[in-house]
Subunit: 128 residues, 2 copies
Amino acid sequence: MVDRPAISKGEMEVARALWQIAPATVREVFEALPASRAMDFTTVQTYLRRLETKGHATSKLKGRVRVYSARTKERTVIRDTVNDLVQRLFDGDTMPLVRHLIEDRGIDETGLAELRDLIERLDQEGKK
Amino acid sequence: MVDRPAISKGEMEVARALWQIAPATVREVFEALPASRAMDFTTVQTYLRRLETKGHATSKLKGRVRVYSARTKERTVIRDTVNDLVQRLFDGDTMPLVRHLIEDRGIDETGLAELRDLIERLDQEGKK
DNA sequence: GCATTTCACGTACATGTGTACGTTCATGAT
DNA sequence: ATCATGAACGTACACATGTACGTGAAATGC
């Protein structure tokens, strides 16, 4: 459970692309970025390098190109990031954020249905 | 709806204290910080100065001391911060985060009850 | 086989961030 | 009147971050 430096916003976009397609070359990651998020090829290169420095990725030269892989799981990073947010914004309390999401951001009918299921499941477990 | 530079992590801790007790002097904010979060008096001063520079606070000299007030509402900052997170981590999709919070972080019985109410309310509105 | 494309890699550079020190001035205590 | 306290304010400084350029080498197009 080595605890690596947090991933910055810019790095995060690259990391997400990497998680989706790893192992992948810089170019592949570059191309996997959402079109809405234009950044220079070399910027992607820098972010990948930094992710590796921070211990969130590894790479290996395959012939002439460097191939990157993720070293931390997306789930873990999400957990840490969310934990941090909840801590800093809500003193570590989960419900205020849940409430905010549901009330302020709103969820659609499908989401509502899923939520009902989720709760029912938790209810069952609670009763056991 | 001027859009001000985002509040950094360190600034956020000071901003939260400020929201709670504003208008307040640097020392008051300093003292309102959670004990767990020790930082130098002048560090608080710097953060308040930066919050003002960024447009999130205002201040006025009252005699010899400077009194700070919040200029952006906590709710707004929370909204923006969460929006940003949801965007960056979940492509702007709310449900994955809700799911993560409920499943991965877990909520207690009280939270569950509140959730049931929340959903019921939304159901009513949906039916209308 | 020469020009063009494409990488890796080193380097850069402005701005942001966390954290605080030093100086100066006013104020309240002695 | 003198001195310790406490503020404001300017300044600092290392490290993080966003973003990319330049150079040199390999591969590919013609």
